[in-house]
Every structure is written in C-alpha cells, then in structure tokens.
Symmetry: C2
Subunit: 303 residues, 2 copies
C-alpha cells in the first residue's frame, strides 16, 4: 500500500484508499494463480480479491493511527485478519453449514468450483493468514509480532470465531435469551473485530492497561453494533443491496436481535452502542478520528 | 511431558514414552470439554486424543535430540504439528473429500457428530495449532519461535499440505507419471513431515546450511518412503490392521506407487529410501540415533 493518506482527508477518501490498497496487499500475499495447484490458487483469489467492504482491515489501519504504527506490519495484520474472515465465509456458505449460493453478489466458492475445493480454499487461506502474519518484519520486535500471531489464533479458534459458529449452529430453531445471543455474537463476529483493532494497535506498540481497556470497550461496542445492524439489514434490505440472500435468518428460524427485540428497539440499541464506542475513545483525542468514523459507518451502513 | 528418557533406552521405550507424553501434552493444549461450546470441544478431543502413532511428534522429538532442544518448545512444536495433521484427517474424511467412515478404528468425526461439526473441528484445530506454537516461551528467542510459526504455516498451506491435497483430488482417475505422483506426495504428506523435523531442530537452535541440507535430505527420503509404504499397506493389509478402510485407493481409482511400479519394485524403493535417510544423517553421529530408528520404523511398519 502507498504511504498513509493525510489525517485531514475525508473519511470517504481515507476508506477508499485503504480498500483499494487492500486489493494490492492481498494480491501480493496470495499465492500466484500460475503456481501449482493453479485451480486452488485461482479459487483462493476468486473469493479473497473481490473488493469487499474490508471492515476488518479498516479497523486495523484506524487503530494503527493511534500509535503511528509502521505500514508493513499494518499491511500484514490487515491481510491476515481479512484472510481469516474470507476463509470463514467460504466454509460458512458450504452446504453442511448455511448452504448459501450467493456472497457479495457472486456465486459462492462451492457453487463456482466444488465443495472439496471450497473446503481446501478455506483451509489454505487460514494457513496463509498465519504465514503472512508470522513473516518476520523486525528482529528486535519479534516478541511483539509473536504476541500478535497468538492473538489472531485465539480469535480465530474455538474460543473465538469457530466457537461462535458452533454455538450459532446449535441455536437454530431454539429460543435464545438476549444474553445467549450476545455471547454467540461476541465470539462469532466480535472476536475477529476485536483482534483487528488490537492487531492495528500492537502494530505500533504494546499497550498500557488503560489503553487496552479503552480499546476492549470500543471493540465490544462496535462488535455488538455490527451484529445488531446485520440483523436489521437482513430483515429490511433486499438481496441485491446486500449482495447475499436477504431474509435468510428468519427463513432459517435463527434467533436475531430483530426477532427478540423488534425492529425499533434494535435500531435504538445500535445507536446506543455507537455512543458507547465513541465514549470509549476519549483518552486518545484526535488520533482516534478514524475509529470514531468507523463506528459511525458500522451503525449507518446500508449493506 | 516428563524429563527426556535416557539415550541408552530401547527405541520401543523411547517411542512409548513420547507417545504417552503426547496424550498428556495434547490434553493440556486442547480446550477443556466443560468450556463452551462443549460439543465442539468434545469433538476436537474425540479426534485428537486417540492414541495415534504420533509419527510427527516422534520426528519433532528425535530431531530435537540433535541439538538438545528444551522440552517446552518441543512439546509445543509436537502438539502444533499433530493438531495440523489431525485437522487434515478430519477434513479429508468428509463426504465432499474421501468420504471415509472409519479412522484409526473409530467412526470419523462427521459420522460420530455431523458434517458441520467436522468442518468446525478442523478449522478450530488448525487455529489451535498456531495458538499453541505462538505462545511465547522465551522472550530472547522470539525471532526463532516466529520463524517456526512461519515454517508450520507454509507447510500447512497451499504450498504444502493443502496444495498436495488439491493435486490429489484433481488426479483421481488420471494416469500420473512417477514424477507427478512424487510432487503430489511431497506436498500432501512430505511438507508436514519435513516441518516436524525442522521444528524439532529449530527448538534447539537455528541451523547451519550444512545442517539444513542434511535434514532436508533426510526429510525428503522418509517423506517419500512414508507414502510408498502407505501405498503398499493399502494394497496388502486388511482394514482391521490399518484401522481404516483398506484397498480404498484402488477402489477410488487413485494412482499409487503400487499401481505404477508394482509391489516388489515399490518395496525395493522403500528400502532404498531408508538407506538414503540413514546416509543423510552421517554428520550428526550418535545424536541422530532416534532419527535413524524412525526411518526404520516408517519403512518396516505394518499399519
């Protein structure tokens, strides 16, 4: 990615700069299509290089601004966390999980290729995420980088994303309490969003207790907000806008914020969480500008 | 695991010491069953704690003896590489891949649980492997440990194990040349065996060029031998002895060493590779005793 865009630029410019930079970064860190096995590499690129919203990389870069983190470690963190996210979508879409044919407006990997390829694409993307994040950047800072790898691994595993996915599967058709629903999403989506923020920050330095507490509070608020808004959009937007099948949660009889709280209370909750996120950033002053703007984006997005 | 067993003990004693120690190590490094999500954790333990042969951990420990590697890093390396191996078996057994119902004499994970759980068990085991290997052991040696994480990630991904699996899938029903068959196995099985040996050695120190070359040669020979012997056993042993479905390669019309070279030439090749492996270890003298014995085990095993 090119040098960082100035702090005075608009949020939209900043966001587009990071997003287009991520395509280049991912292109660099994914295996070339011409390398054997070509079909696997093609499929990895088909699903990873599709100009998604790149919410997690945006969080990495926004948190990196707090501590003037160097570009190289930010790029590796952002690529790694996005590869974990993309692999999870590929596996979630498979017939034995959500069985979804459409993702970001394109046929899902098992539809475009086949199930075995989708399985391997996910497996290989997860491995590639760790290969990218564990490639040594600065010998003197290896302990910090190792801590970052450990953080990502915990966020991706059974105490994080995979664990949340398992709880989600077990909850289909069940009546969940609000607390149970929150616990599920704290793992399923929240863990990786939190990891994105901490990886961005750690790319700059190890954090003080107060800094960690503030970023944890921010991560908790936007993680929950992200899911509440997802549920609102699933209930109110159409498939063309979402780029995936809308109304699927209700059709699958999955518990959602909208099904438990209703639409208007869900919208009020999202607004409250946006306020909590902003408040958590107080100690960072102007340096947290992009994190503020991302909290707004997450709550106000339309897809 | 307890303190290392003496260099004077028999190979069988040494092997059983490592194998039983691995059960304890894996038990420690796997999430407890009582933690949420309990069913996922149960299934991870069901498949990982089954007293397998633990060939990869044996290689880690045997290579560690070359450089008097400390127990803690060896245990983490052995657990990580075994978790990667176990996850690959869980995914390989799924209906969209090899569709196998029996593994090590027990129902496979998707049969015992369900497909979605098998998918998540594999995903979570891969993440756990990296969490275990990236937990910092010695701040002063963080750069070396980071290098080890990177090595494992490369071995597990599309340039290693996943890549070999993809080539294997694409080769069903095709006539492969001996060179193509070797390339497939060099990735599918060889990459992780090589990583086991290098992780064990790196647990002691970073290697000189001559040391690396010797261990690469040893790894290449035993990796190939491992597969040749697998093919021989698939063609000659029964399912009860193997603990998995015998004769499956022929039934699936998969190219094997036996189908290309015939049985007696395959047996001669395995013997030749055993000699190559022994020869590669010359510079290490008595310290390489366990690596010598493991080459013998790999070629002479009956299951």
């Amino acid at each position: 990615m090119n040098a960082r865009i100035g702090a005075t630029s608009s949020f939209l410019d900043w966001m587009q700069h990071i997003q287009s930079g991520m395509e280049t970064t991912l292109d660099t860190y994914l295996p070339p299509e011409i390398h054997m096995p070509a079909r696997l590499h093609q499929a990895m690129r088909y699903t990873a290089l599709d100009g998604g919203k790149r919410v997690r990389p945006l969080l990495v870069y926004a948190a990196g601004e707090l501590f003037d983190a160097p570009e190289q470690l930010l790029a590796r963190s952002a690529a790694a966390v996005e590869m974990i996210h993309v692999y999870s979508l590929v596996h979630d879409d498979m017939p034995c999980m959500d069985d979804d044919a459409l993702r970001r407006g394109k046929p899902t990997v098992h539809v475009k290729y086949d199930e075995a390829t989708a399985l391997l694409v996910g497996d290989a993307l997860q491995a590639q995420a760790f290969a990218v994040l564990a490639e040594i950047v600065d010998e003197q800072q290896a302990a910090r980088q190792l801590k970052m790898v450990h953080l990502l691994a915990e966020a991706a595993g059974s105490a994080g994303m995979c664990g949340g996915q398992a709880i989600d599967l077990a909850s289909v058709g069940m009546t969940l309490s609000l607390a149970e629903l929150e616990q599920m999403h704290r793992l399923k989506t929240g863990a990786l969003l939190r990891a994105s923020i901490l990886l961005g920050a750690y790319s700059g330095k190890l954090l003080s207790t107060a800094e960690t507490a503030a970023l944890e509070a921010y991560a908790g608020a936007i993680g929950l907000a992200f899911q509440v808004v997802d549920d609102i959009l699933d209930a109110t937007a159409d498939s063309a806008t979402l780029g995936k099948t809308a109304g699927k949660d209700a059709a699958d009889n999955k518990p959602t914020y909208v099904s438990i709280l209703g639409l208007s209370e869900s919208q009020a909750l999202a607004e409250k969480l946006r306020g909590d996120a902003h408040q958590a950033l107080a100690q960072f002053g102007d340096k947290a500008r992009r994190l503020h703007e991302l909290a707004d984006l997450i709550v106000q997005r339309k897809a």
